[in-house]
Symmetry: C4
Subunit: 296 residues, 4 copies
């Protein structure tokens, strides 16, 4: 098989050593409804998820505005339909709004028609609300199939932020004819879900960490990424990190990040455009094949 | 669909910036028995749960009395039947006693007749023991169905403390004719169960945190809530937080909270009456519908 | 139903405020073999469990000897058969050896004949190895059925250390004619299993805490128990706490405990004899009955 | 049955009190593919695993090179086929490369022909890439059956690093005629998987610890092992500990270990040769038999 090569470092604007993006997945009710529609019958858990757009988003927008930091919000189409005010407020704040499925649907094992439907419904929901077509995509649950990048390219997306095989952004080859998608890679360690999420019967075992612990984890990775010159992307969920104590700790952390003069903070759309402008050679990722084939 | 609007801040008595309530769910054996009646055959786990009313409640009452802090105790009817002495001691201490089901039954998927039976049996158990009809309710496992608020209103409850979509209390609309219930929202982060509970074969994975960690989490949320002006409700379980080390740490924490001159500490009954007196416009929450309907 | 009354404080020797016991459950392979005999085919996990008697026990005995602290070791009969040298060393060290089932069998749902067989085989294994009949018992997994205390009394045990409904030791009524068993209660928070144990496919999710965290938890409970005047029992497993770093931290902790002049450290046999000499009135515990019966 | 005897201390070169080995399991995609081949369809999780050879291995090799510390890399044959560049870089760095299955296959319940096939395919993959036959083996998931040691000896391996019943290395008897394999024992506490790994639908519950916590745990065990005179083996996975913040913390930790003048740091191959040269009497481990047989 063809060997996969590592992503290579890129240069950042203004002599910054590394790039930083704060991203927010405004999932609200959608991950639960796509996993099990009967969860809609549970008023308690629905209210837990609604906290995100109702309380978390305005609070986080205030924080970003106060610190003058641009961010990217990944918004399932369903969230735009059910909570249009929150999504409009994000758009009014000038932040990047990107695609995150219609109902936060899993892309594992779906057929192409279904996957296109998720893409189209999500696009329609965001465009009709904000008047702008999103340039970015993130797969629900950070999981896509091998067909997904090709579809994203076909639907005109500039970037995806789902994969985990690099510290640096790269051009992800789509097919073999030079087409590509800017990939802005993420990491499970830089996600508030693992630190805070508990939804009985849906997610989590009951572990709920302190904001101080979560941020210690994220800051350790950031400090090391500054030395590596890569792209550090944090992912928070307003239904989790919008809670008062967590939001306050995040605000203080973002303020500290701003103080670093070697860091470029930007929305993922701007970062993707910067990467695209560098004209990187696309990387080809290949699906692992059964062992019998692979060493033939 | 109709957009849900966020709850809005209320004013607090005496110029306090935020309100604080310490609440205790005196579950004892009931959550286990309603989940699986055969757990009654396990003498060990029954003794673990009985620690709550037998040891935890008296210890916690002493602490509250020593600090002159009023609290709310949510008591399943079964606890009142099996451990009447503990529940009488709570009443004698002047604390708010509220409804928490009869046997801590799940309200997910039950029919109306069954749900009414839970409400009626719980009311009967508390009234016959304390001579007072409770004004408050909290759904077992913080989970209700969409019918529940209407029933609570019909049975004369003033407040519920189950939902999670706000930092501020609000009037929860019941039907469309202006009736409402005071909702005093909670949060998974402000619950000792996730920090301490381990009952093999019933709950928990084995994670047991230190009291210092639990209280660091709660205090971080309180400090931020003081800035937000909301209502901060802590939920402890006497079978967990009644253990000596946890109770001592909780006592020291409550003592620190009392020192804040911007905080109003009260039972939920008193807080609910204060909220009711403000004449807030009721908020309507709506059940999410299948995606196909929602963007029609 | 008859109300259960709380255990009451006892006085301790020499004016001590509280009693402390360090206990060790020498489970080795037995919990795995009784859960699933095919686990014997896994050489790796068997070696993990064998670490307890082979390495942990000698190391812990050295620590106890160096600090001149008596302890209680709960030994399944199977451990005595498979690792007789380790068990003889415990006996030679002058420590209390107590019953812990034959193969660490669950007592949930077993019939009386089976339960008697476990008791008899465990007794036979310990007596034939040490020449002494154990006076104490602890149910595997800290779980017994309602028949167990009667059987323990019949087989001549003085004490049990399994239940969790008190901070103080008590006489547990067996039947209604005044017979009783000394109960020395335990707590999930005072057990190293939840802090350290990971055996893939058998126990644990992967969480492994630092010794510092485990001991912070235990010490917080001890400090509070000193104020409560109760009995503080720590339970460690040699296959876990016998590892070098954990044993070193435990050693330092025991040394600190010894410095408290208000604490009486003893084996559970000695503590049980002290309790028995106080002539306490037996407490009756009753099995919870279905709700329908209970409020009749 | 025959009693198992504990491993005994060995002497270390140059008067060192204990031996230290840093080991890396370059699992990449293999554990997922052997557990469920359909996981290959998930591009996200495949990219998560590929981070190990693509980014983690080069970064860790740089760290080892900078500190001039030799290490051992356990490499499934499939990793050598799919990521030959990473494996060649390990070999070029002069590190010990050892066998870790072909596709990280479980050895539980497999028949002999299958197990031989795993061994042969793994050997072929490593030899054809590096030109050297590995002298060491580690069973995938640290789990082998009772046939495995005999096969390892037959295939010419000098050492295995899978079992957990000792702090000291030992000669593991293979059969009854004096043949043996050097065993270099490990511990679940000295593995980054439990601290960092989260792969939804495959491993972990969501717990992700900070590098500081992981290293506090490892360092506590090391400090105590120095006093015990044993062999301390740390196991890291490049797809986990190769992330920037974790790698930086590991680098600082290795640097501290190097400062200890009582510690001998070496690859497991060198340690195994040192152990072999001591001419230790082989230890016999025996499979536990059903209880009925064992006390016959």
């Amino acid at each position: 098989m063809t060997e996969i090569t590592p992503a290579v470092p890129v240069t950042w604007p203004g002599g910054a050593r590394c790039a930083v993006a704060f991203t927010f997945d405004v999932d609200a009710e959608s991950p639960l409804l796509s996993t099990d529609p009967s969860l809609a019958d549970r008023m308690g858990v629905m209210s837990h998820q609604a906290y995100g757009p109702l309380v978390g988003v305005p609070r986080l927008l205030d924080i970003l505005d106060g610190l003058q930091v641009p961010a990217t919000f990944f918004v399932p189409g369903y969230t735009a339909h059910r909570h249009p005010g929150a999504v409009r407020a994000v758009a009014d704040g000038g932040h990047d709004i990107a695609h995150h499925g219609y109902l936060h649907e899993s892309l594992v094992g779906v057929d192409e028609r279904t996957e296109r439907d998720y893409l189209e419904r999500g696009l329609e929901a965001l465009e009709s609300l904000t008047g702008r077509r999103p340039s970015g995509y993130r797969a629900p649950m950070w999981e896509m199939n091998w067909r997904t990048p090709g579809l994203l390219h076909e639907y005109g997306f500039l970037y995806d932020s789902t994969l985990m095989d690099a510290d640096h952004p790269y051009e992800l080859a789509v097919g073999t004819d030079g087409r590509s998608l800017v990939e802005l890679p993420v990491s499970w360690a830089l996600d508030d879900w693992q630190q805070y999420c508990f939804v009985p019967g849906f997610s989590g075992t009951g572990l709920i960490e302190t904001p101080a612990k979560a941020i210690e984890l994220w800051e350790a990775e950031l400090d090391a990424m500054r030395a590596c010159g890569g792209l550090w992307i944090l992912t928070n969920h307003p239904f989790l990190s919008g809670r008062p104590g967590r939001a306050a700790a995040l605000r203080d952390f973002i303020a500290r990040v701003r103080e670093h003069d070697d860091v470029w903070i930007a929305g993922l759309d701007e970062i993707a455009r910067h990467v695209r402008a560098q004209g990187l050679a696309p990387r080809s990722l290949t699906r692992p094949r059964p062992a019998a084939e692979d060493h033939a």
